[in-house]
Amino acid sequence: MSSASLAAEPLVNCENISIIYKSPRMSLLGKRSQFLALKDVTLRIESGESLGIVGSSGAGKTTFAKVISGQVLPSTGTFKFRGGDPLLKNKEMYGEFRRSVQYVFQNPKSSFDPRIKIGRALIEPLRSFKIEGNHNEMVTTSLDTVGLDRGVFVRYPHELSGGQLQRAAIARALVVKPKLLIADEPASSLDVSIRAQVLNLFKELSDTGDLTLVLIAHDLAAVAHTSRKLAVFESGRVVESGLAFEILKNPQSDAARRLVEANLTIA
């Protein structure tokens, strides 16, 4: 593929993606009932963009994230990453895709092995992707990016606070220099005072422009702070998408309106 066509291609291109889960048979000859987790989702994510995904629970937000991170194969529709299908069994391309897409989970306490020091946990992805170079140096640069003290290198996860640990999780995702960072409710298990630290960090990362960011949250304010674009999910469909501030000021769909109304402020 020529470089010109690569530049025009969005980073992630989803066309008419549906995900069907089948429930187990209730009797020997019984039918298996189906559940549509995603219905006809078409979404493009341009390189360097920050996209917020909102919706109530069960709307398909996490399922969508699983599709674009290659954890779930779409039942129908096509998923393209930088113009190619990464899920074909092309070993080299698949490896590159796994490195390019990194995930930050909701609860940092359970996404770190409690018996492994932070430093080793951050070197782990460099080893498994067989990235060459000075690993210690790469990890310290990554820790600097998220604003963590180098001292955490020799600390165990329980010695860090929730906010520090979530930043370490972000550093672990950044250490392999991904193209796309997916964060699934990264701030909702954190305390109010610490939540702001993590959201500020995501905003800084998205402002630098090299990283594409997908932030999933049910807290609209958090998403609006970090993302320029927004996609509103409802029962497996994208019901509204566009610039975040336009949607928040003037929500068109019922789902978006409900989310805006549910947001409480200090009177």
Binding site: S56, S57, S161, G162, G163, Q164, D191, V192, S193, I194, R195, A196, Q197, L199, N200, K203, E204, H218, D219, L220, A221, A222, A224, H225, F245, L248, K249, R258, L259, V260, A262, N263, L264, T265, I266, A267
Partner: protein, 317 residues
Amino acid sequence: MTPILRVRDLWVSNGRLAAVRGVNLDILPGQRLGLVGESGAGKSMFGLAIMNLLPFGWSATGSAVLGYTDLIGISETDQREVRGRRVAMVFQDSLSALDPMKRIGWHFKRIISRASSDQATQWRGMSVDILSDLGVENAATALRKYPHQLSGGQRQRILIGMAVATRPELIIADEPTTSVDTAIQRNVLDMLTAATNKLGASLILVTHDLALVSNYCDTVAVMYGGQIVESGPTSDVLGKSRHPYTAALVNSNISLTRVIEQQAEALPVIPGVMPSLESMPTGCAFRLRCDRASSACEEIPPVSISGSRTLRCWNPK
């Protein structure tokens, strides 16, 4: 008005560390109090101490008088008269608060028949009424379901129903909406406040979300490091905060209007973290994170009372 719950110098400790350090609090009949603070502030331990449900090894001293009964150091037999009947609790995690092996109806039946044997036969009708009031559709069918068959918002409503079933005087709700969606959160809280209003009961809403307190509570008590640092009417405390910690909490609250107004700016952050019980500083617990700290703060600040507001700070705003 005489308070229905009068807490005086309440301490909760395990002999070595103290999670609640000298809390004084009055709750008037029908009042809705928001107990706010970060995790580790001791707000859950406060609620558990009132319910006599402290974890193994922890004990409470001081007094918490409900009507004429002191709930601290009460015998287990006397406690049965109080827990669930005069004081009820709504827990945070609805899935672990219900027995996964039992149907919803079983939970109601136990609570209602233990509270009064006269009503034992009418438990089904009573629980259907309560659940319909709370907006549970097909309440009779819901009673035949198991906890895992219901959604999080429905389960939370069931817990609220179980709490109000015995017509208690005081309901303690410990983060009742953190495990449900923002859209459902509001609905659950509307139901909770409507149910307490109907009973004329008082409510202690334990939460870290100031926006919730501002919308649903008439008084607020801000906890930090096991002490109440500021309390008073909600609009006064949140609108004109005097304690630097309250001010910082209000300031770090992320609201939609604010995000839209100041698009590019970084959100304000409270530096540092809540000290753990082992590393609690001497004097004011907040002084290491406070921008107004002075040498006076090395002593524990006394409580100053002005009107309905209390404050524990040497250098208030």
